[in-house]
């Protein structure tokens, strides 16, 4: 009898061993594309979340779409799980290898195939770096808008898998809003085109559900992205507030006044104190919260909007206001925010970045609860926050060499995520569930809802071989985690008749 595990995989009793897998893959791809010695496979044991590691028995690095098809057909025949991997910068263990599977690296798919200024789109291979698209589009005055902080390294295929955001997504949208078409290979080796440059395709919107599916529905081999014209100018207002509550109020007022800033970010006192010595951006060290608010457009438009932003901030009680006077200064203001993670690495041996999203009006409540948790778990936490869209990134600082600090950090993180769900938010805004937040999925969704995710998975990957045991927890796991059917502390629709 097959045991059903997380992510819906039906594990076969007699799994092929490394030698058998390698032998079969040699029929699918040239030998130099296959890695299986430990010194070669070790670099693939984890993604950007190094807390979770698994040495893959085999790594395969195909060079053509036909080879991807052949690899997937081979693995289907052998009933061997496949985990696709882009640049490996993910923060939720989404591309952590499977212990008896093949890790499929797409790093060699690194070509920009075409850029068409008239349709404002680019066709690229999945291993192309996010920033490389914007660099290639720059001569046409265009760029690719979603800009996760890891954009110098992360690949577009990974962005599609995670539905990545960035600091500009309030105005310009997430990956799902900026991808027109995806070409992927399904687990059975079939090539599937989702979406189109011709808008609103017939049939259900498979592209929309594919984006953000964490590599569980298909392997991306080509992406057509929408490009947007680079604004003539961007300037940023930096504002200080003497409480995070006041800063939160300022954000709400900005949005309510009809302004959609190009970027709107908040840092709390600890985050400011962490990054300032590192970046020297001139941040106000005597304040409780800093807001960075960007305006872009024509020179006239930006001048007009900056004036309105400053007025809103003053009215909301800003204690200090500073507007970038040059592009260099604008980048410096942002440098602190974008380097918050490395700065955390400088002040603490380890840090654990969380990724919940909350309705913005709950900000003060959530931050004060996090403050209390610091005492409870005996660890410090710095907060950076995509304030415009409610996406929180608490950075829990710990030292993995000290006894039980890893465990406390994980528990602290879990408590933060559960709080996010409790106040009407979600356990992950942009980093994905991966393996990291699989327990918290039991908190956010009912069993029936989780079963629907499995249903979607089966529709794309009937054998459940693609990135199995991620994202969707099993019944057993949720029961063990003790949160089964309990949503925000109560049973959902307790009075609903069921059969």
């Amino acid at each position: 009898m097959n045991a059903i595990t997380d992510g819906g995989v039906a594990a076969e009793p007699a799994a092929p061993d490394q030698e058998q897998i390698v032998a079969a893959l040699r029929e699918a791809v040239p030998g130099h594309c296959i890695l299986y010695r430990e010194e070669d496979t070790r670099p693939y044991e984890c993604d950007g979340l190094s807390l979770y590691r698994m040495l893959p028995p085999v790594v395969v690095l195909p060079e053509t779409e036909a080879q991807v098809q052949a690899v997937l057909r081979t693995c289907t025949r052998l009933n061997v799980p496949v985990v696709a991997r882009g640049a490996g910068t993910g923060l939720s263990g989404g591309s952590m290898p499977h212990p008896r599977g093949v890790l499929l690296g797409l790093a060699k798919f690194n070509r920009i195939l075409s850029i068409d200024p008239a349709s404002a789109s680019a066709r690229v291979q999945p291993g192309v770096r996010n920033l490389a698209i914007s660099e290639a589009a720059a001569p046409h005055g265009l760029y690719y808008a979603p800009d996760p902080s890891s954009q110098i390294a992360c690949s577009i295929g990974g962005n599609v898998a995670e539905n990545s955001g960035g600091v500009h997504c309030l105005k310009y949208g997430l990956t799902v809003h900026n991808v027109l078409r995806v070409r992927m290979v399904a687990m059975d080796g079939e090539i599937v085109e989702l979406g189109s440059e011709a808008l609103d395709v017939p049939g259900p919107d498979l592209l929309a559900v594919f984006v953000g599916s964490e590599g569980m529905l298909g392997v991306v081999t080509e992406v057509t992205v929408r490009l947007v014209p680079r604004p003539a100018l961007a300037r940023v207002v930096m504002a200080s507030f003497d409480s995070v509550e006041a800063a939160g109020q300022a954000v709400a007022r900005t949005i309510a006044s009809g302004i959609i800033p190009a970027g709107l970010e908040m840092m709390d006192r600890r985050a400011v104190h962490m990054v300032e010595p590192f970046v020297r951006a001139g941040y106000d060290m005597d304040t409780e919260a800093i807001l960075l608010c960007e305006s872009d457009g024509t020179a006239e438009e930006v001048a007009d909007e900056i004036e309105r932003m400053e007025a809103v901030f003053r009215e909301a009680g800003a204690t200090r206001l500073q507007v970038s006077q040059s592009e260099a200064e604008r980048l410096l203001f942002w440098a602190g925010r974008k380097n918050a993670f490395p700065a955390a690495g400088r002040v603490s041996p380890d840090y654990y970045c969380m990724d919940g999203t909350i309705p913005r009006r709950q900000l003060a409540r959530v931050l004060s609860a996090i403050q209390q948790m610091e005492d409870e778990y005996g660890l410090r936490c710095a907060n950076v926050f995509h304030a415009g869209d409610g996406n929180l990134h608490p950075l829990i600082l710990f030292d993995s060499n000290k006894p039980d600090e890893v465990e406390r950090a994980e528990k602290f993180g879990a408590a933060i995520l559960e709080l996010c769900v409790q106040v009407g938010g979600t356990v992950t805004g942009e980093h994905g569930v991966g393996i990291e937040k699989i327990n918290q999925m039991c908190v956010q969704f009912s069993r029936d809802e989780l079963d629907m995710f499995l249903a979607v998975k089966r529709a794309f990957d009937p054998l459940c071989l693609l990135n199995p045991e991620k994202v969707i927890p099993t019944l057993a796991r949720c029961a063990e985690y003790g949160k089964m059917h309990v949503h925000a502390g109560e049973l959902r629709f307790p009075d609903l008749p069921r059969f």
Partner: protein, 368 residues
């Protein structure tokens, strides 16, 4: 549980037990859209969502509104307008009875679509009544949410084949500070070329259309709408050229496209052809361009095959949007046939969500 909701669940469970189809409906304003099913005329098998109505939550500063499916679309838009906000995808109503549920299930977007995005780009969360009579929630009320698959966006535009959308959270946007419409003479090819030039420049274009002049021949009028802060709109208007159109006339023009009240849309049959916006004129007959050339309405009585082939050659697809009165729909349906792998995934999704085939049989794909 609320009476209306328990009635709806009850109806689904009864249909499920008796293996009877259910036709989900709101106000019926988009009943013409999609394929017909022979059993549809019978009023007993309608799952009517109109009684499940009302705004659940509206937080202007969070840019989100959550409503029940039966809420009239007009009511929601009026509520948003009161706070200086709007549904940026400018959904067509096609009648005062249009509901939010119907708007999301049909997945149609208006003139601003190419600039702002489509309905699905603004759907943040849904509550679904599934084939077993269960209520399932996906997504939520926050803008960034990658917990689990984005089932809400999969449901958007799925014409009810996976279940009935009960509630939906939509992202809203501030109304532009200023709008200005410019009109100029152009042939269809000139219009396509100009839209292409504007697309790669930082101009606040929020809609672009072209319609043939009434005189026949190649002559036509290009309409472009600018939306944004006044200095940006004024500077762009200066750079782009064309005659500024009086506000009332401009509003009537865009409304005429959005609601298909423009005289062009009286034609039957009416095809919707979507192509990459830079595609050359299709030469299929009387044409009206929207979305900067990305959506092309064709009023010509041609065999479905001819329109579909022309669309496919240009890299797009064609929908028989409004068939000729009394004419039989193509045997394979009004929508462009799906590629084999997409059709296979669609069938498996239907099998998973609605194994008994209760909801809206044939509506999207004949036989599904």
């Amino acid at each position: 549980m609320e009476f209306v909701l328990s009635e709806l669940c009850e109806q689904v469970m009864t249909a499920h037990a008796g293996r009877k189809p259910l036709f989900i409906c709101g106000g019926g304003s988009k009943a013409f859209y999609g394929n017909r099913h022979r059993g549809e005329g019978d009023g007993h098998n309608r799952l009517d969502l109109t009684a499940y109505r009302g705004v659940i939550d509206y937080q202007p500063s969070e840019l989100v509104v959550t409503v029940r499916a039966g809420t009239p679309l007009a009511e929601v838009e009026q509520l948003l307008a009161g706070q200086g906000q709007m549904l940026a995808f400018e959904p067509p109503h096609y009648g005062p009875q249009a509901t939010v549920g119907g708007c999301v299930a049909a997945g149609l977007s208006g003139p601003r679509r190419a600039a702002a995005g489509s309905v699905r780009d603004f759907v943040l969360g849904t509550r679904l009544l599934d084939a077993q009579g269960r209520m399932l929630g996906f997504g939520g009320e926050v803008m960034k949410n990658v917990a689990g698959y984005d089932v809400s966006r999969l449901l958007t535009g799925s014409l009810g084949i996976f279940g009935a959308i009960l509630e939906v959270s939509l992202k809203v946007a501030p109304r532009p500070l200023m709008e200005l419409t410019l009109r100029s003479e152009a042939t269809e090819s000139q219009a396509i070329e100009r839209f292409g030039q504007w697309r790669s420049r930082p101009l606040p274009v929020s809609a672009g259309a072209w319609a043939a002049a009434g005189t026949g021949g190649e002559a036509g009028e290009l309409w472009v709408r600018l939306s944004g802060a006044e200095p940006a709109v004024r500077a762009a208007a200066q750079a782009m050229g064309g005659d500024a159109v009086d506000d009332a006339q401009a509003a009537a023009f865009w409304q005429g496209l959005r609601e298909q009240a423009h005289p062009f849309f009286a034609a039957r049959p009416l095809w919707r052809v979507a192509v990459p916006p830079t595609a050359a004129p299709l030469g299929l007959g009387r044409t009206l361009l929207e979305w900067g050339g990305g959506q092309r309405w064709v009023a010509a009585d041609l065999p479905a095959q001819a329109v579909r082939e022309a669309a496919a050659r240009a890299g797009g697809h064609a929908t028989l949007f409004r068939p000729a009165d009394g004419a039989a729909a193509p045997a394979d349906g009004v929508f462009h046939p799906l590629s084999a792998p997409v059709a296979a995934i669609t069938r498996r999704l239907k099998q998973e969500f609605d194994p008994a085939g209760l909801f809206n049989p044939d509506r999207m794909v004949p036989g599904l």
